[in-house]
Amino acid sequence: MREVTLEVSPGERKAIIGPNGAGKTTLFNLITGVFPPSSGEIILFGKEVTRWPPHKRTALGMARTFQITSLFPKLTVLDNVLLALAGVGRAKLVMWRPLSSYEKFQNRARELLDGAGYWDRRDVQVRNLSHGEQRQIEVLLGLASDPKLLLLDEPAAGLSSGESREMAEFLKRLDPSLAILLIEHDMDVVFDVVSSISVLHFGAVVEQGSAAAIKRSERVQQIYLGTG
């Protein structure tokens, strides 16, 4: 990773694209604090968080999903969402009261699951869902903490074209004030969802601009076609 400067403003929908090995997921890991950067700084909502552990950044209003589905397979859909809901706020250290008795979590979970059409299947263990469904739950988990910034790592990975379109629609329905940073290989999804794009190559940003501009860029063509 070198000399990557990236800015996301509130409500902005931005994609990061680039060939395999360009460092997209690494960039996400740096932003979310899974690894510390060797130099440079990360500013989240006006705070310098370069050395913060992940859970503190989450508390500020950041959330992410994973490229490889990263749910709690042996828990139910509802419990997955409840865990995500309880992750922000003080309730997570409460030991003397069942999680099921928290109405605000139950209501919010119902809202989220209803919106995505999963309420009826809330008691199904996640490992029994289809891949496409798991990807959507993955995004729901990201939304649960009510983030201001959502980092999506290839939400459409491994989906059929029909499922991908569904995912794109699903993303577009999200609250417009939510800023989204998206990694995606499926260009249809990318152009459908975002307004601006950064192109990453060998750990550096080589192009930035509106979706339309990037579509036309020759440099990007070269990178993807391997002629660069």
Partner: protein
């Protein structure tokens, strides 16, 4: 919820028939309940948090030695102050775990297993050689059980007190595992990294779970000391920790109730079958090996699909 009612009915039945069983059976029942407490504390770590502790006997030892030392050297804890000792035993177990946790929680999986084992051996080393405090290999013999209105020297009375404390522990732990904190432990067991991204300080959660498990270990220790009337380094030795882990695996990790079932099986085989046949250890070993091979969910797994 159904599980709890079944458990309560079984315990109520045990309480009802206890006066009519032989005096030896009452002792065995009490022993099962005490071991059930320590097994539940292991289950909190292994079954819920995914941390295989192989040093749980250390906390039992701390509680037991504290009880024995207070009783023999200071005459403390033999009246109403018994209840104070119960609290002190829990606090001592938790404090020890609090210290050990600083080293152990950094590790996970089999590393955690080895480190807890090593920490347990530290406690054993002290119990075994620190003669002036622990009596070394002699252990500490206690003169009698507490007396406060009721006489715990009566085995039946003692059994009921143990039963009460077991039920209290069970409900405390049951509430704990269904609380947001408890659910977070399951999340950590399933996928720790994701939990961190979701906003959990997973180290802290694991550490707290470890301390709580230590506290219940200490409680079991207080009762263990009074049950046997003697505390000795044997109680802290590696096989004692192995036993506790074994009970959980046998009964079914991530169920709490499984610990009690495992304790019942182990105690039955060891104290009862052992008096009838020489080859009881084969039975224990075989039951255990077969459980691991074919019943990953333990005996409870027979009744219920997944865990937690």
């Amino acid at each position: 919820m159904k599980r709890i009612w079944i458990l309560l009915s079984v315990l109520a039945l045990a309480a009802a028939v206890a006066p009519f069983t032989g005096p030896f059976v009452i002792l065995l029942l009490a022993q099962i309940l005490v071991l059930g407490i320590i097994a539940m504390s292991v289950d909190l770590l292994l079954g819920y948090t995914g941390l295989p502790s192989l040093g749980q006997a250390a906390y039992l030892g701390v509680g037991a030695y504290l009880t024995a030392i207070l009783a023999t050297k200071f005459g403390f804890g033999l009246g109403w102050d018994f209840w104070l000792v119960v609290l002190m035993g829990m606090a001592a177990g938790a404090a020890t775990a609090g210290f050990f946790g600083l080293f152990a929680i950094r590790a996970s999986g089999v590393y955690f297993l080895m480190i807890t084992l090593a920490l347990g051996m530290c406690v054993w080393g002290l119990a075994y050689r620190w003669n002036s405090v622990t009596g070394g290999d002699n252990g500490i013999n206690m003169r009698g059980r507490p007396k406060f209105g009721i006489e715990l020297a009566n085995d039946l009375t003692f059994f009921y007190v143990v039963l009460g404390l077991f039920i209290a522990s069970f409900f405390a732990l049951h509430l704990l595992v269904s609380s947001p904190f408890g659910k977070s432990l399951v999340g950590i067991r399933e996928r720790e990294l994701r939990m961190r991204i979701l906003g959990y300080n997973t180290w802290l959660h694991k550490y707290i779970a470890f301390v709580i498990a230590g506290g219940f270990g200490g409680l079991a220790g207080v009762l263990w000391a009074h049950l046997n009337g003697i505390v000795s380094p044997v109680d802290v030795l590696l096989p004692a920790s192995v036993d506790a882990l074994l009970m959980v695996v046998l009964g079914g990790p991530g169920t709490l109730v499984g610990g009690l079932i495992g304790a019942t099986v182990v105690v039955f085989l060891r104290e009862y079958l052992a008096t009838m046949v020489q080859w009881w250890q084969y039975v224990l070993g075989a039951v255990y090996v077969l459980t691991i091979l074919y019943l990953p969910g333990g005996i409870m797994g027979l009744f219920k699909g997944g865990k937690a």
